[in-house]
């Protein structure tokens, strides 16, 4: 058994040490809000925060995480209140199929933490997540709206 610091809790898992964090979260800890899209850190669907840094969990071996703090989409509204980013997402009705949106929101959350008033260029640089439904226009609007909230 190994321990991970996930969403403020110490959680045990029995995965092989080389297993990507993504699959430990999804299959061992039942945190399925973090999605599999490519497995090669291209699409961003698996984005989580490790010590606050937006990270693609499909390329992070679980044994490399140590006791760093992992935050997943499930923890953003853990106290029952949506974050201002989630709220902006709801207000602007951003998701379509929604599959990429956990990763989008995690990336946007990290962006606003680093740059509270991002420019369009900041968004272009930070949000490299793939959405195939094409929510990009609403994602951009929602990030700006959350920055103003």
């Amino acid at each position: 058994m190994a321990v991970l610091n996930v969403n403020g809790k110490a959680l045990n898992h029995s995965a092989d040490p080389r297993t990507p964090l993504l699959w430990v979260l999804r299959e061992q800890l039942n945190l399925t809000g973090t999605k599999y899209g490519c497995g090669i850190a291209q699409c961003g669907s698996c984005t989580v925060h490790i010590d606050g840094v937006a990270t693609r969990s499909c390329q992070v071996p679980v044994n490399s995480v140590g006791n760093r703090k992992i935050t997943t989409i499930e923890a953003l509204a853990a106290n029952g209140t949506l974050t201002k980013i989630q709220q902006a997402w709801v207000e602007l009705d951003v998701p379509q199929c929604g599959y990429c949106q956990s990763g989008m929101i995690m990336a946007a959350t990290a962006l606003l933490a680093a740059k509270p008033k991002p420019t369009d260029a900041d968004i272009d640089a930070a949000i490299t997540n793939i959405c195939r439904c094409g929510t990009y226009q609403q994602v951009r609007e929602a990030i700006h709206a959350a920055a103003k909230a």
């Binding site: 092989d16 699959w23 399925t32 490519c38 199929c97 929101i105 990009y136 226009q137």
Partner: protein, 726 residues
Amino acid sequence: MTIHQTSLRRPSLRRRGFMVSGAAVAGGFSLGFSTFGVAHAAEAKELNAWVVVMPDDKVVIRIARSEMGQGTLTGLAQLVAEELECDWSKVTWEYPTPGENLRRNRVWKNFSTGGSRGIRESNQYVREGGAMAREMLIAAAAAEWKVPAAECSAANSVITHKGSGKKLTYGAVAAAAAQLEPPKEVKLKDVKDWKIAGKPVKKLDTLDKVTGKQIYGIDFTMPGMLVATVRACPVIGGKLKSFDAAKVEKMPGVKKVVAIDGNAVVVVANTYWNARTALAALPTEWDIGDLGKVSSESIAALLTEGLTAPEAFVGNKVGDAKAAIDGAAKKVEAIYSFPYQHHVTMEPMNATALVTADKCEVWCGTQNGEAALAAASEASGLPVAKCDVIKLMLGGGFGRRGRSDYVRQAVLVAKEMQGTPIKLMWSREEDMTHCQYHPITMCKLTGGLDAQGNLVGLQVRISGQSILASLLPGNLVNGMDPATFQGLMAGGAEAAYGYNVPNLLIDHAMRNPHITPGFWRGVNVNQNAVYMECFMDELAEAAGQDPLAFRMKLLKPKWAAVLKAAADKAGYGKPLPEGHFHGISQVMGYGSYVAGVAEVSVSPEGHLKIHKITAATNPGHVVNPAQIERQVAGSFVYGLSAVLYGEITVKDGAVEQTNFDSHNVMRIDEMPRVETVLVPTNDFWGGVGEPTIAVAAPAVLNAIAKATGKRVRNLPLMHHELKKGA
């Protein structure tokens, strides 16, 4: 905002009913056959197939089509709620199962969700369902008050008696209403009286998608479930020759290694990661035969031959095009091509199946629940009455999940391990290489202009792949695939050609490579719009005329109106910022008329920037303008991604692209601002999920030609040097 406040619309009867949506399966349990039939919650009163009313006034609207981000469930619920006269804030939704549909004589009719048909094909009967339920609720209240129903009216989930002012809520009379005979006829509301439909209400399924709670097929789990992953022959159509299960059977978590359908190997393990790791280590040999000789080059040669072949299926013919072109003052000719495209849904294919001696259950995202049910029955060998499919949210569809190949695979594996639920998941690599791809075609266009620059004759020869010949051969008409001519058809309400050309011949030399084709968002409207709308610009240029003016002389009224709406909104013809250029296009598809104006610039270094796209749509009726805007903007991401990067190539018989590193797609930094213009004429019902994609590519290509003087006739753009003088 608290989650509690925004969770009011979560269905409450689903766990106890026979129907489910994502939330009901989050805990992971088998519904089992005991939940079919009449196992409603006792307090849930079904007024008809579409409407269930709870004592607390909550309204559950049944949605037969599949939600995959296009907003169909919200739009359909709006139409039911409009006629029901219910309080929209009390509306929630659920999916009936395809098995239940069969048992009830297909009371929910067609489950198929493709061809932008959700609203345009079911608006009449779902509105009637809402209206009938309303009349039954009114009749129940009138009976309780012992007054004529004609003296009562309904609004906002409350029935009011005009004379006495008495009021009853829907929940209070639902039990009595459910006992009444439905009215034989109902009158539907005039569009001008709509209060819920036609309004930009928010989607009903957003909250769980921002908190990570939404359960997609890939997230589904149940007690005792094992996870399988598959590798099919890398050459589509090839066979499995051998595999060495002993090499991986003792790897961590591995439970079983099986071959299915003679063309694929599957590893079943305790987790996906263990299954995937073992599958990667599994030695396999394939028999690909002569298919290994096929390449993109050999396919191009096959299609090139078709461009001038004597035999072709005629899709649209007016007068004598050849004679008119031969006698024309000026002849213009061009050859275009459009490559294979992959859907690349963000969620790779997956399905969970449980097979026992006498039942087969499947949980999956599907665009066609009834086809998935048929696949489950066929693969399990059990009669369809002993099977069912519980639909889960789709992480993208775009046509891909209209096929049930992944359902079949899951059931075949589950059949090998009876009593154990099996979640079969495809890797991205498996998904990329075993799609049903947007078909490959080429097109030769020849036009004749008279001395005044009028188009007197036009020949369009399409050469390439037919979707129907591969997937639905029964739908061919004397061997011809009518769908090949989408957007170019002689008439009809679906995808008719908009230009009046005095002498016209559009035909198709069918050439079918082994790469399986399929329906890809927008289907054949996509390449047909590129061919026709880019060539229209070439003809206009040859005629020395403005592309808009040239088209306006030829276009029929509804096509012209939507193009003018887009051009007006974009300020076409007015000065643009230096270095910016407009390109235009139009098409009819899925019953709707659409047009686009692209504003682009190309830097001296050849860097393309798509600044803005103005898109006009006449979908007949507008059920939710906000969701149409999202569909239009989203469809441009899909269409422009194909323009910029989209291409599936073939080497040694196999698809070469395997993941996003070899198949790039558009990201937010390349997303132009999209402005949507809605110009509904309220005299028909058209689709919105697909048609606008098709105008993205030709509008951008036409603008690039203006900016650079270069006419790009082969996609994707990543292969072209746009630098001036290059």
